[in-house]
Structure formats: structure tokens, C-alpha cells
């Protein structure tokens, strides 16, 4: 391929070509907005968050406590059986120290984020969330953490009703 082909298609542009309109271009902003019905499982999940609680579903067949909650067990492919509350303490399974925000812009103060598996749910069942009250040097996989909830008046039925997870302290369950 390399031997037989001498010309490779593709005309490279530089950022200026686009941003200073040196090449002909059209611009368009799509009008694409959505409002997804949360459905039964997620609706209850959000209501409980507003109450300062984490709720899960149980599947009696595989005997798992499923979190985030879902109305069907994806392993057994059957409806899940019931609701059960789980703890708001858990273990950091993985994390990142991010110097990028959502739009890939650089930020000075890093965001500590990762996955926390929650006590009371089946092993490894967890959620993504922020970590705080710890430095980038302190955070580690295996750290025991606890949710810090926003004051009730500030909760809106969102995962952000938890502000972040902080290290579990001596003597805390």
C-alpha cells in the first residue's frame, strides 16, 4: 500500500482557517431538547435522594441488592422484587484528579471524582460522585467514605443532593 500509493487524500486546515473564516463554511445550531421520563425506578431514586436516603432494588433470584435501582434485573431478566435502603457510606473503587472541566477547559483547583461502592448494596455496586475534604495526595482506592448531604431545603431530587463524599472518620459506622 505504501509502496504503490503516492498521494493520500485530505487537505489539512488550521484553526485560523475556520475561526477567521478563511474557508467557506456554514454554521448551524440544532434545536434538540429532551425531557426524559425518569420512569419508576429513577423517580423513586430521586425522591429518596431528596429525603437524604439511598434506595436500591432487590432481586431474589440472583440475591443481589441493585444500585442504582432498576425495575428489572439485567442478569436474571426478570422484574426486581422490592425496595431497600442502603447506607450512605462506602469505598472508593476508582478515582481521578481532574484539571479539566466539562468543556475541557483547564481549572486550577482539581476536581476529585470517582466511583464509590456503597455499603448495603451488592459488592461493586456504586455511583460516580465527587470526593472532598481530602487532598489529591490523600485520595486512594480503598478509602472508606461517607456522603455529605446538602441541607434539606437545598435538595432538589438529584444526585447533587449529595454534595460529595468525605473520608469516614474514626468511630463512624
Amino acid at each position: 500500500m505504501t509502496a504503490r500509493i503516492s498521494k493520500w487524500p485530505g487537505k489539512e486546515l488550521h484553526a485560523d482557517d475556520l475561526y477567521q473564516a478563511k474557508v467557506t463554511q456554514v454554521r448551524f445550531r440544532p434545536d434538540a431538547k429532551y425531557a426524559w421520563s425518569a420512569g419508576e425506578a429513577m423517580s423513586r431514586f430521586l425522591e429518596e435522594l431528596q429525603q437524604g436516603r439511598l434506595v436500591a432494588r432487590t432481586c431474589r433470584r440472583c440475591k443481589r441488592v441493585l444500585f442504582p435501582p432498576r425495575m428489572f434485573c439485567e442478569e436474571c431478566f426478570r422484574p426486581t422484587d422490592g425496595w431497600t435502603y442502603i447506607r450512605d457510606t462506602g469505598t472508593i473503587e476508582t478515582f481521578s484528579v481532574s484539571y479539566l472541566d466539562r468543556d475541557a477547559r483547564r481549572i486550577a483547583q482539581p476536581i476529585l471524582v470517582g466511583v464509590v461502592s456503597l455499603d448495603g448494596a451488592s459488592p461493586m455496586m456504586g455511583m460516580m460522585h465527587y470526593f472532598a475534604e481530602m487532598t489529591p495526595d490523600q485520595i486512594r482506592i480503598g478509602m472508606r467514605v461517607k456522603a455529605v448531604w446538602r441541607p434539606p431545603a437545598e435538595r432538589r431530587g438529584s444526585v447533587l443532593d449529595i454534595a460529595y463524599f468525605r473520608p469516614l472518620r474514626e468511630g463512624e459506622a
Partner: protein, 382 residues
């Protein structure tokens, strides 16, 4: 597979998506000695419509891809599309419904303003993940950290992959990110994006297209086509959407896809029977993750193979001889050029300066995508 083609991969190309498709398709057909009239069906592979900025972009691209008045279909399995569309092309032929199939993959990430990153805000669950305003790099960072921690892998070992692939890419005519002089130190000194991911661990967005031509053995015999490589095994698998419930240290879904492909290819001992690999490498650690997922290295062993030079082009199991996504570029679905295209070019002795110096008869490649969920695997033989 009897032909392949690809465009340059660059951060921004002037050509429209349709034109990119056309260029790659034209090259592939020319290399196979065929015209569009010979093609029975066209398969298109392209990842998020939001990059190109057109809803149902498969429809928009189809004339450039040769689909005019033909059976044409687009498949889309996130980052797995680069390898998966070839699988879809394969079943068009292996089913007997088509004798000659053109597979055209394209991505034009530069259309998306201000940055292709913004599209990745929409791949997350709206209730569980989006409110946290996640950045795409977080996915890789979390997976990389888990992999490193479970196996005790050091960043130095991971950086070796970036160095290998960007150097391999020097010999790839389409490469966007080749660097003959890059060192492990360069990678380790590069800007931290989301620890443990640093700038030189990542392949940035690209524009590009690639195409392959598939034909039945009857067509190959009748036309006495000499430059051909066989698709011996295909496999694909998706894991649960609930990624926060999974241990990310090992891509179970890649292993399942690989097992499916190896079973079809009658490969019992992949490490011995596979001569070279093009694992999907959008980040350097992914090559290691996927070498293990492809069962070419035991869990946690891939860094050792890399350190020992086993995965260099002249090693015992060359990995990413093309230069991979790290070296050539990452226009998502269009990476078929380095993943599948490279298997074809190596197996038919057409890889030029990238040709592996010893004989290779069996190669494997994987695609990877979605929320750390998707594995697509193809085994090809000379």
C-alpha cells in the same frame, strides 16, 4: 478482504464528510481493481452524529460512501464501530446476500464547535452522571487508575506504549501524531489532564475516513485476486450500561468478543496462534488493557510484554505496528484504517515501511466503545 483505503487523519480537514467517504471508498475500490458497479451492498460505520452535525448522518454520507441506489446501512456501536462495521460487512457476504461489499467509515470531529468534547457531555446518563458535569477524560482516568492499582502498573510502563506507537506511526503516510523522538520522559512530563491521564497519553480528535472491500471466495477465485486476506473470526459483545457496578480493571466484554471470534477461527491458544495485533488504543493504557482482554497476555502481564519489547514491530507479538490511534490519529470509526486496514496490509505484504520483518499469517484487532462497554473483534488470516 481485497482492498483498503484511507485519507490523511488530521485535526481538521477541508473535505466534507461526504468527500472524505468518497476519497476512502475510491481508494479501496481502486486497490481492489473494482468499480462501484461491482459493489452489491454498502455498509457505513460512523460514530456520534453530533460530530458531523447532522441527524441521521448515515443518510447524509451515503452518496459519498457509494450507497446511491444500493442496499446501504449504517451501524454504530460507539468506538467499537471502527472494527464492528467490518463485521457487519462480513455478514452481508457470508450470508450469501452479497458478493462484494464496500465498508466505509468516516468521522468529522472538527465540525463540532467549540470542541468535539462537548458531544461527550451527551453520552452520560442524564440522571446518574450528567449532573456531575463529567468530562470524557474522566472515563479513561477512572479505568486507567483501577487497572494500574489492581495490577500495580507504573505510568512508565504505560508511557512505553505511547512511545512505541507514536514512533511506529512515523512510517504511516496518514499519521497525525507521529513523533520519531518521543520518549517516556516526554509523556511523564506532559500536562496532567485528569490524573492519571496526561496529555501525551491521549489521542486527540481527528477528521478522516477509511474503507475496505470485502468479497466472497467465489469472486476472488473468478477474478484471480491475489492480494487478499481472509476474515476467519468475528465477535462482538456489550456490557451492562451500569458501568459504576463493574470492576473496570479488565474488559470482560472484549474477552467475550475475542472468545467468540477465536472460536469461529478455531484458535485454541491465542498467544501462540496470533502473530500480531492491532488492539484499540485511544489512550496508551488501553493497548495494555486490550491485549489482556484479547487474551494475548495474562491479566496484569501486558506491561511486562511491553517492557520486554515483545510488542515492538520486530518483537514476538507486534502490537499496533500501524502506529495505532496514538500515532496515526483517532477519527473514531475511521480508525478502521489502522485497525482492520493494517491487518489487511500486513497480511498481504503491502505495509511498506511498517511491514513486520518476520512472516505473519494471523492477526487480530479490536474496537472498543460506549461507556467502557463495547468490544468488537476480528481475526484475519493470510
Amino acid at each position: 478482504m481485497i482492498g483498503a483505503g484511507m485519507t490523511l487523519f488530521r485535526r481538521r480537514l477541508q473535505e466534507t464528510g461526504k468527500e472524505l467517504c468518497y476519497e476512502a471508498a475510491r481508494m479501496a475500490l481502486d486497490s481492489a481493481g473494482l468499480t462501484l458497479a461491482d459493489v452489491d451492498a454498502v455498509v457505513s460505520g460512523s460514530a456520534p452524529d453530533a460530530f458531523d452535525g447532522v441527524h441521521m448522518k448515515g443518510e447524509y454520507l451515503l452518496d459519498g460512501a457509494g450507497g446511491y441506489r444500493k442496499p446501504y446501512v449504517r451501524v454504530f456501536t460507539g468506538g467499537g464501530t471502527g472494527v464492528f462495521s467490518t463485521i457487519a460487512g462480513w455478514w452481508h457476504v457470508a450470508s450469501g446476500l452479497a458478493d462484494v461489499v464496500l465498508v466505509v467509515n468516516e468521522e468529522k470531529m472538527s465540525s463540532c464547535q467549540p470542541h468535539a468534547q462537548s458531544v461527550f457531555a451527551h453520552i452520560w446518563d442524564p440522571i446518574l452522571d450528567r449532573p456531575l458535569q463529567p468530562n470524557l477524560v474522566w472515563i479513561f482516568a477512572m479505568e486507567m487508575n483501577r487497572y494500574m492499582t489492581v495490577h500495580g502498573v507504573k505510568k512508565e510502563d504505560i508511557a512505553l506504549v505511547a512511545v512505541k506507537n507514536k514512533r511506529n506511526a512515523v512510517d504511516h503516510p496518514c499519521a497525525q501524531l507521529a513523533d520519531p523522538k518521543i520518549t517516556v520522559e516526554d509523556v511523564l512530563k506532559s500536562e496532567v489532564m485528569a490524573w492519571p491521564v496526561q496529555r501525551l497519553d491521549i489521542s486527540p480528535p481527528s477528521d478522516g475516513a477509511s474503507a475496505v472491500v470485502l468479497a466472497s471466495d467465489e469472486v476472488i477465485r473468478k477474478r484471480r485476486i491475489k492480494d487478499r486476506a481472509w476474515i476467519s473470526g468475528v465477535g462482538w459483545c456489550i456490557d451492562s450500561t451500569m458501568w459504576t457496578d463493574r470492576d473496570l480493571y479488565f474488559p470482560q466484554y472484549v474477552a467475550r468478543a475475542a472468545k467468540m471470534a477465536y472460536k469461529m477461527a478455531k484458535i485454541g491458544d491465542p498467544r501462540r496462534e496470533i502473530d500480531f495485533a492491532e488492539p484499540y488504543d485511544p489512550f496508551d493504557y488501553k493497548e495494555l488493557h486490550h491485549l489482556e482482554g484479547l487474551l494475548l497476555a495474562k491479566k496484569g502481564e501486558a506491561p511486562k510484554l511491553t517492557r520486554e519489547g515483545v510488542t515492538q514491530r520486530d518483537g514476538d507479538l507486534p502490537a499496533c505496528p500501524s502506529g495505532g490511534l496514538m500515532g496515526v490519529g483517532n477519527p473514531i470509526a475511521a480508525t478502521m484504517g489502522q485497525k482492520i486496514g493494517e491487518l489487511f496490509w500486513q497480511l498481504t505484504g503491502q505495509a511498506g515501511k511498517r511491514q513486520i520483518p518476520h512472516e505473519v499469517r494471523t492477526g487480530v484487532s479490536n474496537g472498543w466503545g460506549d461507556l467502557m462497554q463495547y468490544g468488537s473483534v476480528v481475526v484475519m488470516r493470510a
